[in-house]
């Protein structure tokens, strides 16, 4: 069913790059030539045969740091996105199906959350709460879920008035069936494209938080944190800060290419077989 020759070239690039990123993240300890926090040389050594990407501000191998960084970045972003999606989509769908005061209450609550700039909200909450991974993921997921809620509620409200949903209600189906079997499959394509976008926002948000010192705590570092560690080097013409930045950009683009492709495939109403 899945013919590799029929995948557009852009999507193929996206798929290959994304797979590479994911594999790197999963097998980080096996691939990385040095340990994550191991100091092996001088500060900001240039690229060489020993250290392909040079060393960072403390003399650690930048390539190894990048590989471990991929692991942390992807891990947090994936979990935060998963949380924001399950939370946002389920609440959004149920608000559309149940309506009434339930819908009003949730929607106004979401409005309230969204009226505060995400970054400021994140900064305040994270500086109050203990800084560990769980808090970080929870904060990112919940803040992001407001966007998902808005989208899935809007999509579901449209679907909820379709005759086939009415037919299901007349049949006496429970809200579980209506949400997961009638609405969800039809809301999937806008949600999948949003998923790609939200994942990238999660990566960017995490990078921002780490850059500001509230994200992943040293000695571990995600890519955003690595930009922060090495940013002073830019003044001296040392590119160490640009490498993690470029990795963030590459990840963002390749994930979006994949999301576009998935979207194209799922919009077909003929089960993808024409």
């Amino acid at each position: 069913m899945l013919d590799i020759r029929r995948i557009p070239i852009a999507s193929l690039i996206g798929i290959v790059l994304t797979t590479l990123f994911v594999l790197t993240a999963v097998f980080a300890p096996l691939i990385a030539p040095h340990g994550n926090a191991e100091i092996i040389g001088d500060v900001w050594e240039p690229m060489s045969a020993n250290h392909w990407l040079g060393t960072d501000n403390l003399g650690r191998d930048l390539l190894s740091r990048m590989i471990y960084g991929a692991r942390i970045t992807l891990f947090i972003a994936v979990l935060a996105t998963a949380l924001s999606f399950s939370l946002g989509a389920i609440l959004g769908f149920s608000a559309a199906v149940f309506g009434g005061w339930y819908d009003t209450l949730l929607s106004r609550l979401v409005d309230l959350l969204m009226s505060i700039p995400t970054l400021i909200m994140g900064l305040v909450v994270l500086s109050v709460l203990p800084s560990n991974l769980v808090t970080l993921i929870l904060v990112m997921g919940i803040l992001d879920s407001t966007r998902v809620y808005r989208l899935s509620r809007a999509v579901a409200v449209d679907i909820n008035v379709m005759d086939y949903v009415e037919a299901a209600k007349l049949r006496g189906e429970g809200s579980g069936w209506i949400i997961f079997r009638e609405i969800l499959p039809n809301a999937l394509s806008p949600l999948v494209s949003e998923l790609g976008l939200r994942f990238i926002y999660a990566v960017l948000f995490l990078s921002t938080l780490s850059f500001l010192g509230l994200g992943v705590q040293p000695p571990d570092a995600d890519w955003g944190g690595m930009v922060k560690e090495n940013k002073d080097g830019i003044v001296f013409g040392i590119p160490a800060a640009l490498i993690p930045a470029a990795a963030i950009a590459a990840l963002a683009i390749s994930v979006n290419l994949v999301a576009d492709w998935v979207l194209n495939r799922t919009t077909s109403l003929k089960g993808g077989r024409g």
């Binding site: 379709m162 005759d163 086939y164 037919a167 049949r171 006496g172 499959p185 109403l269 024409g274």
Partner: protein, 551 residues
């Protein structure tokens, strides 16, 4: 019809027209399909040619080709379109620009979608004349007002100042006809101008169009799928099927002595044999004095409605849009709890709200919708759609369920091969059949059919009606049949309720309701149904006793 001696000569001459389109089936190489196969036609000045056929017959495509236009991706690949002595296909873009809106004008099916909602009607009506510089604004507006008057629109002096949403559907369609006539074209293409209207409104629009054509000596291509309608306005009729010419002849010849089998089928489409059953003693479902309104508003959509349905029989509810027919269905199913009154089923009162009714009651009442394609989840296969009620009500699983699904597919005259299909892979008639199977799967005592044939081609609709009647014999199910089409009612009903503005104005067995003396509204409704007879329109207009509600 128009006085042809005053303006003799050929206006439009289409020769061997071939129209193609490229389709891109997913997973296959793009291929070219031919929509119109070498069709030729001629039209004299001041004459009206009716193009008739089911959907996909190529009527609109041919009609639009007379102005050199092909809808999204459609290409005119062969033949000549000669208008006023020159081949317009050779004129290029500039030629089309000069032609459209000046020599040829177009009247679309849905006036509501064709008008720009942000501009006043008058600005849109005179636009073509101004762009082509054929008249000054004052002249064009004067002409428009005269046309509004001729098309018997209310307040012809001021209606142009309104926005499209401020006039009714029938009026909007007439304004669109005025728009087409305003630039004094030689040819107007009418694309199903009355299909979306109620019968009682259709007759007014039809009469207005006919008068306007006669008085302005314009030639017209009249596209429709309703033979009875086209018989009223056209001089000649061309029957099309699958992009090919079936038969072409004078109106009288086509409807009285059709030479082709297909034409004959179209002419005799509404004749279904059905013997009226006498009402039994105890009704299965009684609607008692139901009054209902939407969202607690003061406008009552249903006023004190009472009807009975007997086991295994059909009650037809007729009326124009806004008469409350569908609301009655919603009140019976529990989707709209009535404010007063009750629904009694099998001797017990049903809960007002849907959530108050037990599963068993829900099973006994099933519903079939007008638009079959939105009544089925596009992401579920036919097997899932039909199988779900079996699982849900009877707990059938696996092989047992599949066997029953296959039986049901047989009953609706579709094969087992359809189990894995998605709704998007079915034709309109097949979709409606699947919906019928889904409701039958629940083994209900009553099926509510909400305009189930309105969106279908006449021949397909005919097949569906026959199927419903056969199933009634086999399954002993009762129907509540909501429709605005009296021909359908005559074919299948045992008793009839005529609704007008939320009230039942006439109710009884079919023979009683359809026998004079009539009340004013039933008379209007009955006399508005187009009959396959030349000169019916004039007779009907002359004999009317009241104006339709939409006017």
């Amino acid at each position: 019809m128009a006085d042809t001696k005053a303006k003799p000569g050929l206006l439009l001459d289409i020769r061997n027209l071939r129209i193609e389109a490229t389709v891109y089936p997913p997973g296959e190489a793009p291929k070219t399909i031919t929509l119109v196969h070498d069709v030729s036609l001629t039209l004299e000045k001041g004459k009206v040619l009716g193009l008739i056929g089911e959907s996909g017959a190529g009527k609109s495509t041919i009609g639009l080709s007379s102005m050199g236009y092909g809808r999204g991706g459609v290409r005119i690949t062969g033949g000549e379109v000669i208008l006023n002595g020159r081949d317009i296909l050779k004129g290029g873009k500039e030629g089309f620009r000069k032609l459209r809106g000046r020599e040829v004008c177009y009247v679309a099916q849905s006036a509501a979608a064709a008008f720009n909602p942000a501009h006043r009607l008058m600005d849109q009506v005179v636009e073509a004349s101004l762009l082509h510089g054929t008249a000054t604004r004052a002249e064009a507006e004067k002409r428009a007002v005269a046309l509004f008057k001729k098309l018997s629109l209310p307040n012809p002096e001021t209606i142009g100042e309104r926005f499209p949403h401020q006039v009714s559907g029938g009026q909007l369609q007439r304004v669109m006809t005025a728009m087409a006539l305003c630039s004094e074209p030689d040819l107007i293409v009418f694309d199903e101008p009355t299909t979306a209207l109620d019968v009682t409104t259709q007759i007014d629009v039809l009469a207005a169009i006919k008068d306007a054509i006669r008085d302005t000596h314009v030639a017209a291509l009249y596209i429709t799928h309703d033979l009875a309608v086209v018989a009223q306005v056209s001089d000649e009729i061309m029957v099309l099927r699958h992009g090919r010419l079936v038969e072409w002849g004078g109106t009288r010849q086509i409807i009285k002595e059709p030479r082709q089998e297909y034409t004959n089928a179209l002419v005799s489409v509404h004749e279904i044999e059905h013997r009226e059953q006498q009402p039994g003693t105890t009704p299965m479902l009684s609607v008692k004095n139901v009054t209902a309104a939407y969202g607690g508003s003061h406008v009552k959509v249903l006023k004190n409605v009472s009807v009975d349905i007997f086991p295994g029989q059909t009650l037809a509810v007729v009326g124009e849009s806004g008469s409350g027919k569908s609301t009655l269905a919603r009140a019976i199913t529990g989707l709209l709890p009535p404010e007063q009154g009750s629904v009694v089923f099998d001797g017990r009162t049903l809960g007002n709200k849907l959530s108050d009714r037990p599963k068993e009651d829900l099973r006994q009442l099933q519903m079939i919708y007008q638009m079959a394609d939105v009544a089925m989840n596009p992401r579920q296969t036919v097997g899932t759609i039909i199988g779900r009620p079996l699982e849900f009500y009877f707990g059938m699983k696996g092989r047992e369920r599949d066997k029953r699904v296959a039986e049901l597919l047989d009953e609706i005259e579709m094969g087992k091969g359809f189990v894995d299909r998605y709704p998007a892979e079915l034709s309109g008639g097949q979709k409606q059949r699947v919906c019928i199977a889904r409701s039958l799967a629940a083994k209900p005592k009553l099926i509510i059919c909400d305009e189930v044939t309105s969106a279908l081609d006449p021949l397909v609709a005919n097949g569906i009606l026959k199927l419903l009647l056969n199933l009634q014999q086999v399954e002993k199910v009762a129907y509540l049949f909501i429709t605005h089409d009296l021909a359908t009612v005559k074919s299948i009903a045992d008793s009839i309720a005529v609704m007008y503005r939320g009230e039942v104005v006439r109710y009884g067995s079919k023979s009683k309701v359809l026998t004079p003396p009539f009340d004013a509204y039933t008379d209007l409704l009955l006399s508005s149904v187009p009959e396959m007879e030349i000169g019916w329109l004039e007779k009907a207009i002359a004999g009317r006793r009241m104006e339709s509600a939409g006017n």
